[in-house]
Amino acid sequence: MVLGMTTMNFTGWQGLQTRFCRRAMTSGGFTSLVVAAALTLPLANVGASESFTTGSSDVIIQEINSQIRQTWKDNEVEPSPVAEDAEWMRRVYLDVVGHIPAVEDVEKFLADKDKAKRTKLIERLLDDPGYTRNWTTIWTNLCIGQQTPRRVSREGMQKFFREAFGKNRPWKDVVSDLVTAEGHYEENGATNFLLAQMQDQDDGAQMTAKTTRLFMGMQVQCTQCHDHPFNDWKQDQFWQFNSFFRQTAKVDHRRFDQKTGRMVDDYSEIVERNFSGPVYFEKRSGLMKVAYPAYFGTEVNPDESTDRRKELARLMTAGERPMIAVAYINRLWAHFFGFGFTNPIDDISTHIPVTHPALFDRLGEEFVKSGYDCKQAIRWIANSEPYNLTSRTTKKNARDNPAIGEAALFTHVYVKPMTAEQLYDSLIIATNAHKSGRSGWEQAEAQRHTWLQKFVQTFGTDDGGESSSFDGTIPQALMMMNGPLVQDAVSVKAGSHLHELLTGKGSENQKIQRLYMTALGRMPTRSELGAAQKFLNNSHDPLTVYQDLFWALLNSNEFIINH
């Protein structure tokens, strides 16, 4: 009966588990928990059913589903089938908590017969400490970059976001704190966002550009020097916006170091400075012009009595659908799907087409109505039908390819490379290092930091942290192939994960399966199993075969590409 249902539900590509199941049925020798897990079916309503559900029935989730379905119809494409549990589970872990699931969790989830298990998993992950850690990483990188700029406290920035995401603070409060921050960079970690934009003496141009781009999804940086060629931003608007930041100054404190007898860097802080009246800027013609603080036409008293950044924060967070809400939704959507409603995600303006305007507006409004509840927004997205589809395309939707500039239709989930942090944390999970307790928290953090720095250094530095994923440099490949982290992972020293696994009970097949489950969160296909067996048969040193197999799995594209 199991096989029958499987065959009925799978069409075309969906053969991985099917083929394995057949083998399991015919050979009859597999009765371990692992195999039982693999036999668990994907949700019954695979494919073109209109009634997909993860078990959650929020009205906004239904709205997402129906609006996305409408565009499938309008564009004459068909969605890919619903992802198998194994595929979906690995993805939702990476997206919500920033690492792959541990093998025990995979087994439990695949064996679970609860129809609402997907939505329950989403809830569990939102409550997991990994949620706070993951989103702290993401926003720290976005705000201050991968490599900490001079006179910026990474710890301070992380502390701020840990509290923000840990307590699920309303996003508008978070933005407001970042824009208005003052004081010591560790006591008020929010200051580090602006400190990171104060590297050059540029009259606040970088603060202006980054704040609008990151929180409002608007690219105004080129209007620093000229009117925007495509959208409505004019040069004077850039400087009107800029004038909000002109009361901001930083003080870099130094202190005397007893040991060396020298002055060394101490803390930095943001202070207010007296500034009133207009700012001056130069038109391309060479003409000097003035700009007073104004937010989309709303003028602000330019006197000294005005705290301009407070005014800015008030205006940025006011209204039924402010840009900060829309921009956040767009970023979140892209985080889960690989592409946002606009491409690029931080350029929401009239010259960039929006893939689903009505849905985009609605989600922005609902986000505001929810009280800027970041977890709630994730619930809507992660429980939606399109997010639960496979990342494989079919003939009926292969042309839905935003990577080549087409408007995204979300007929399948687009793959995305892991970020450096996801990769590191996933390797730790796959090697069970998180459970070994070999090193304390601080030491573990230090090791993580060193590895990440090395991994990131193999790129040219770039702004914004979006280059932090595996994008194909040779040093990174070498680091994965021969670096100490993976070397340790495939070590068969006593006490290592691999040693434990290989000296434990179980047949050769079970051991191979477990390696696949550990690294890729799925069972091996029949051909993969056969290939591994062949290696075992031809070797008089089975231990090295398992080692090399595990090495291959950790180094594979399937491991590093979040699908």
Partner: protein, 434 residues
């Protein structure tokens, strides 16, 4: 390692050699003959070595001295084999200046380290809308991609930080190595080639399954990078990084005679890095950047130059130029010397010089460019360009492009589709290519 077929040889030509050679030469001799021939062809491939003086070097104390000005400082100019004078602390370089020229009319606009570095590397002013490729990445894209037998990266940066390949993509990012030439993680970590082979075959199974799973291009891109990394691990060309294979005399010449206290200020390192650069160029790498830091001399400029920076710089440039010439490579290898900007003509109260981009010098030579010349000039105090023309980094890189045979009308496309002219539309400097 397979025997490399020389690219400049037709098959018939090659077979002709084979026939003639077989009759007269023992087989082994023949093979070494072909190898030598291939090596010779590689040696004649075009390349550029960028000597990057990070921190911003005081060109007024090196290439464009002002002995009659209050800005002139402590150093005197000396005559050279070329038609120009340089600093008295560059005596060895003076002897090879007939091969090298100095552009004395640089007038750039960025006097901040980060922005200057970006501008001089890319020819473009930094803008948040697009990331421009460093010129090394451009050369990797234009020349490296065509060198099929090159198994190591086409843009190698020794001892310095990275620069971005920008819209040209990660394939053309600089491959960073430290001065020892040890490539991190490039050895097999104790496993043999047979084990590596087993691992790669297992990897192939998983990778190919994913590539064929209808999930777009990224699975294949991942595999491509791994293929390159494995090629690199196995490549004989990796020997180019092993400078210790060179004779001691050669190492000494590049490093300069060990000053008192050993290799002061990392000077020995600069020479060693240049030697590595020569070996890499010989192996077919079209662009090598060598970083030599310690030029941000806000204080105590003359003492530091005299005892640390200039002896190392002098020895390195002289040895490299001589070595390339002796090997018959100087006509094909362009040498460029620059930093993110230079330093103020005015000497500050700490006997230092601060950041200055308005009027300064870049050294360039080799690659068939005219040597022994000063192009343009600055006024008597060195505070502005006094010749009719001043130059931007784009002009320097256009000159390099000309020497390397990259057409100047080449246009690349940024990720958002904007056309980007080679070297920001700069023009090759007429006096140098004339």
């Amino acid at each position: 390692m397979s025997l490399v077929t020389p690219s400049g040889m037709s098959r018939r030509h090659f077979m002709g050699h084979l026939a003639a050679g077989a009759a007269t030469l023992p087989a082994l001799d023949f093979i070494s003959h072909v190898k030598a021939n291939a090596a010779d062809l590689k040696r004649r491939q075009k390349a550029c070595i960028l000597m990057w003086m990070s921190g911003g070097p005081p060109s007024i104390d090196i290439w464009d001295l002002k002995p009659d000005s209050k800005n002139g400082g402590e150093f005197k100019p000396i005559n050279t084999k070329g038609d120009l004078q340089i600093s008295e602390h560059m005596p060895k370089t003076a002897q090879v200046m007939d091969n090298l020229s100095v552009i004395r009319a640089m007038s750039t606009r960025e006097a901040d380290h980060g922005r200057g570095r970006y501008y001089m590397h890319t020819s473009y002013v930094p803008t948040p809308t697009v990331v421009h490729p460093a010129f090394g990445s451009v050369v990797s894209y234009e020349l490296g991609s065509k060198r099929k037998d090159l198994e190591i990266p086409a843009f190698i940066s020794i001892g310095g930080g990275g620069s971005s390949p920008g819209f040209l993509g990660m394939t053309h990012s600089p491959f960073l190595v430290n001065g020892t030439g040890q490539i991190e993680n490039s050895d097999l970590g104790g496993i043999g080639l047979d084990r590596l082979d087993q691992r790669l075959r297992m990897l192939g199974t998983v990778e190919d399954n994913f590539i064929h799973s209808q999930r777009g291009e990224s699975g294949q891109s991942h595999k491509d990078v791994y293929v390159k990394a494995v090629n690199l691990m196995k490549s004989k060309q990796m020997d180019a990084f092993k400078i210790n294979e060179e004779k001691k005399e050669v190492l000494d010449a590049y490093s300069g005679a060990p000053a008192q206290g050993g290799m002061m200020g990392g000077g020995g390192q600069f020479g060693r890095s240049l030697l590595m650069a020569r070996r890499l160029v010989e192996a077919g790498v079209p662009f090598v950047e060598v970083d030599f830091g310690g030029w941000d001399l806000h204080a105590n400029v003359f003492q530091t130059l005299k005892t640390q920076r200039l002896p190392a710089l002098d020895a390195g440039i002289a040895a490299l130029t001589t070595d390339l010439k002796q090997r018959g490579m100087l006509n094909d290898v362009v040498l460029v010397w620059m930093g993110e900007f230079a330093r103020t003509p005015r000497i500050n109260q700490d006997v230092g010089r601060d950041h200055w981009a308005n009027s300064w010098s870049v050294m360039i030579g080799g690659g068939g460019l005219k040597g022994g010349m000063a192009v343009g000039e600055t006024d008597k105090d060195g505070i502005s360009v006094s010749s009719s023309k001043s130059y931007q980094p784009g002009d320097v890189w256009a000159t390099v492009a000309h020497a390397l045979g990259i057409p100047l009308d080449t246009v690349h496309k940024s990720k958002n589709g904007r056309p980007m002219k080679l070297a920001n539309g700069g023009t090759a400097i007429q006096e140098l290519i004339g």
